[in-house]
């Protein structure tokens, strides 16, 4: 693989441990040092959980039973416009609103996201074991982004020129938290197609969380991700459109929304971790088509199919679009019957983005 000197880093920074070990064993000196450095600490959600288990007594007596099902444990921190994480706690579970918009939006957004996973799929938080939810707001100075650092959510204030504060959009909060769920269930590697699937999972559930709070059926939803985030003066409506990938913004400074909505327009690139935020438009569109075809509340059936697929042990960390498509089709068949309208809608959704699951199933069935 070729990469410009400035790009090397991204090849090993988030690759799985077994690859890191191989690099450490056989790679170039510089790469090996970095790989060993990355391996030195266990940053997984499981490690986080173990740390919590080590000292639960004080917290649980003060705050009620920590792992009780359906009980949220939110903490909102402020970075006070530095880049220090997690920062200073400003609102704990049960505390009254602070009057700081970003703090209160993060608190409410985390609540809506937790409630969504619990009430729609009986999932108890990110790890399904009641993991406390932490978010930091006011990160950095005029910081134009939100991210999941592997353990918590982080939101910038935006610069007011291109972006507003990142807590303004509930689906963005849901998007970030879903990265935790995806990591816990499937560990989809954040590169190329598995990375684009990881991104699509976050858009799908981020959008469903918003739809559920608004009580919208699939045909009434806008299927936009990050509406309200673009500052006044920017030509665009959102970060992405699941319904019409590639149409969310077209601005002289930001450029044009680069998302494809069909395999024939798949973008091969080394940028953006191999186009994870670009090619996610393809599975996003497939979900949209399936959901509007099935109808009703999209989280009930289509969301359930995607959620059960995410939990499927056959979903490997390097799964690509075609394998994922086939798994959603099989899951729809398992839940609603192989000849059900739901299974057909899922097949049609993938067909409309250029992935033929029926043919894939036949391929797989051949001796």
């Amino acid at each position: 693989m070729q990469a410009s000197p400035g790009h090397r880093h991204s090849l090993y920074c988030i690759v799985p441990p077994y690859v890191l070990r191989n690099i450490a064993r056989s790679g170039k000196r510089e790469l090996a040092d970095a790989a060993l450095n990355t391996l030195a600490t266990d940053d997984t959600i499981r490690a986080l959980r173990a740390g919590r288990a080590a000292a639960p007594a004080v917290v649980s007596s003060a705050r009620g039973t920590l792992t009780a099902e359906g009980v949220k444990q939110r903490t909102i921190f402020t970075a006070d416009n530095t880049q220090n994480l997690p920062g200073r706690p400003v609102r704990l579970e049960g505390d009254a609103a602070t009057g700081d918009l970003a703090v209160d939006e993060a608190y409410d957004g985390l609540g809506s996201t937790y409630d969504f996973f619990w009430e729609a799929y009986e999932r108890n938080s990110i790890d399904d074991e009641g993991l406390p939810l932490n978010a930091t707001v006011h990160f950095g100075r005029r910081y134009n982004n939100a991210f999941w650092n592997g353990q918590q959510m982080v939101f910038g204030d935006g610069d007011g020129v291109l972006f507003n504060r990142f807590t303004i959009a509930l689906d963005v909060i849901g998007h970030e938290l879903t990265h935790g769920v995806t990591e816990d269930e499937a560990g989809l590697i954040y590169f190329f197609q598995s990375g684009a699937l990881n991104e699509s999972m976050s858009d799908v559930f981020g959008s469903l969380i918003k739809q559920r709070v608004r009580n919208q059926t699939a045909d009434h939803a806008d299927w936009l991700i990050g509406e309200g985030l673009l500052a006044a003066g920017v030509q665009g409506v959102a970060l992405r459109s699941m319904k019409a990938p590639g149409t969310a913004f077209d601005d002289p400074d930001l450029g044009k929304d680069p998302q494809p909505g069909h395999m024939r327009d798949y973008v091969n690139t080394m940028q953006d971790n191999g186009g994870v935020h670009i090619n996610s438009g393809i599975p996003n569109k497939a979900f949209y088509v399936a959901a509007t075809s099935i109808g009703g509340y999209a989280w009930e059936k289509t969301g359930r199919i995607w959620y059960e697929t995410l939990r499927d042990s056959r979903l490997r960390e390097n799964t690509g679009f075609r394998r994922f498509a086939r798994l959603t089709h099989m899951t729809a068949g398992r839940l609603y019957g192989p000849t059900s309208t739901e299974a057909k809608a899922v097949r049609d959704g993938w067909a409309q983005v250029g992935i033929n699951v029926a043919a894939l199933a036949m391929e797989a069935g051949r001796p």
Binding site: G140, N149, D159, L162, F166, H175, H179, E199, G226
Partner: protein, 116 residues
């Protein structure tokens, strides 16, 4: 002193912001040039490792910053990931982002005046 700066990643791929930015202190105001030189000095840029910041497993939507500083016959490239952690490095990135923002505000104003 010349700086090449490129940012990528984040919650969306924004092609306009992924374009590289080149800054030459000769083209800055004397105050900005002095500020930039101070930030490079303060961050000990030429002694920084090739990568600053370390991603945790499962991290997503973080930004990556590619910075190359050339001064006389020495040149050094550094890649930073969110969160930059080291304050001096974050301050240098803030300075570069401010220049990018200035350019955007300027081009937006020119468009509003009807200039190409």
């Amino acid at each position: 002193m010349r700086i090449e700066y490129r940012k990528e990643g984040g919650i969306a791929h924004l092609p306009g912001l992924a374009k590289p930015l080149t800054i030459d202190t000769a083209e800055l105001t004397p105050e900005q040039a002095a500020e930039l030189e101070r930030l490079v000095e303060q961050s000990a840029f030429f002694s920084l490792p090739a990568t600053v910041g370390r991603l945790k497993r499962g991290a997503a939507d973080y930004q990556e910053y590619h910075i190359q500083v050339t001064e006389g016959d020495r040149s050094h490239a550094v890649q930073v990931v969110d969160p930059a952690g080291a304050e001096a490095v974050a301050a240098l990135i803030d300075f570069l982002d401010d220049r990018q923002r200035e350019a955007i505000i300027k081009s937006r104003a020119a468009r509003q005046r009807g200039e190409p």
